[in-house]
């Protein structure tokens, strides 16, 4: 039984909980800034391994900053007025006839309607086919010894519960800053990322939306460069009365 020491605010506690690893000392961190114009209405850091959520009104833009580089931001989005309408990978991909997300990609709902639009993107391509990690699927991918580890599905469930949502509301998600190539013979998998500290993606809400994010805790594959770092979430609102950030 291993005991580790953690600082939480002004409190230092010892714990036997096998908490996942954070980034190593010396990691380059670049908090960057918003990838949209307008007034900043929310600016929050998401700690490594942690969940996060926010509501955006139509027209607002969410900038997600990959502060430490190659840190997967597992992402779900719902119609805030009716969460039965939620992000749909197949609708998004079929509509744009492409397996990757890039600037101009429209994140579509299970009703085929635009939830958000990628208005800015500093990565060659973004993933929405790799799904989220879970403590259960970790046992298939890496072995039974990983089952106790924290995963994105735990984060999604914990954060979803704060909004009255549960397991039935989790669907295939987006992984901002994660790299999942599909090769010519169909081979696919998570490989070293193409992002870097301070790289960003910007998403404009096309309706009032609820966004749920897991700052991925995975330490068994390169989706976080084996080095879990923070994310920065910035919401901006247009100041000129238009919807264009």
């Amino acid at each position: 039984m291993t005991i580790t020491t953690h600082t939480v605010g002004d409190r230092v506690i010892e714990t036997t909980v096998p908490v996942g690893a954070h980034y190593v000392e010396g990691t380059t961190l670049d908090p960057s800034g918003p990838l949209a114009t307008g007034a900043i209405v929310l600016d929050e850091a998401v700690a490594p391994l942690a969940p996060w959520s926010a509501r955006l009104t139509a027209g607002q833009t969410l900038t997600i900053v990959d502060v430490g580089g190659n840190q997967s931001a597992d992402f779900l989005v719902y119609n805030a007025q009716d969460t039965d309408e939620r992000y749909s990978t197949p609708d998004t991909l079929a509509w744009q006839k492409n397996a990757y997300l890039r600037e101009g990609s429209i994140l579509r709902s299970n009703l085929g309607r635009p939830l958000m639009t990628v208005t800015g993107n500093e990565i060659d391509r973004q993933d929405t086919i790799g799904g989220a990690c879970s403590k259960e699927s970790n046992t298939l991918r890496y072995g039974f010894h990983t089952e106790h580890q924290h995963g994105c599905r735990e984060n999604f469930l914990a954060e979803a519960a704060r909004h009255g949502l549960g397991a039935r509301d989790l669907v295939s998600n987006i992984n901002w800053f994660m790299n999942v190539p599909v090769e010519a013979d169909g081979t696919l998998g998570i490989v070293d990322g193409m992002s870097a500290p301070g790289k960003r993606v910007a998403l404009r809400a096309e309706m009032d939306v609820l966004v749920i994010v897991s700052n991925c805790p995975q330490m068994n594959n390169p989706c976080n460069d084996f080095n879990c770092t923070p994310l920065r979430m910035i919401v901006t609102a247009p100041t000129d009365g238009s919807d264009h950030a």
């Binding site: 506690i13 714990t15 096998p18 990983t146 998570i190 490989v191 070293d192 068994n220 594959n221 390169p222």
Partner: protein
Amino acid sequence: MTSIADDHQTDSVLAARADARAQAERTSEYMPYRPASSSPVVPQGVDRDALVWAETVAPGGYTHRIIARGTRLRLDDPTGNACAHVIVYNALETNERLNVADTIKIPWQAYLGVGHPLLSGDGRALATITADTSGRHDTFCGTSTDESTTAKYGSAAPEGPSPSGRSRFLLAAAKHGLTGRDLPPSVSFFQGVHVEADGGLSFLGSAGEGTHVELVAELPLLVLIVNVPHPLDPADDYLVGPLRVHAWPGEPTLPGNPQFTATPEVNRAYLNSIDYAEARGL
């Protein structure tokens, strides 16, 4: 800067696949054992080959399973620091669930021990305690919440060093389509509480290392188990120990078993459970 990434070759899909597969033979202090017969910590006297569930639950961790009627469920506290918070449901109709008030009121007894049933709100025995070498359990305090955990340890973040019991129950419940409204008060094993004459709740804590509790499922059960510090644990730090779980098939409490008629109340609870089970064709 050295990084764990330096130990991994993951620059192509095939390299990443080989890297992932190379991790499979590792072990952990805290893990499920599959098949269950591969458990390295089979309790003495338990038939390894009969096991249907075996794992070591991490400090701050949780587990959950649907078990058949008659299953024996054994919880071991190897270090004396575990605290097993438990909720059981009728797996066939999860609206039927542990009712802690009935569980202490109907047997006329607040303290859990051998022969004590875990009763539902529907007048049936969901489980019965069949062995107990600890005697330090609690039916009063339930489990910890984010509110109480944050006040005590500074954080209750699900990814952090001090998760709350309720947040862990929520995750376990979610895996079965249940939500916060489906979490009734829980019981806990291995950390005792005593009610003083003036009503004060005294924390007795553990009976020491190496104790265990065994239950029998009187109906098919959904079992949720959370391993977090007891709400009254006076320690400033979050030092809960690992919890071992083993289960194997057996029989529910039936006529002929002395427990079946141990008290008039529990006898009628078993009759109700059997009546339900037989009508369901179990």
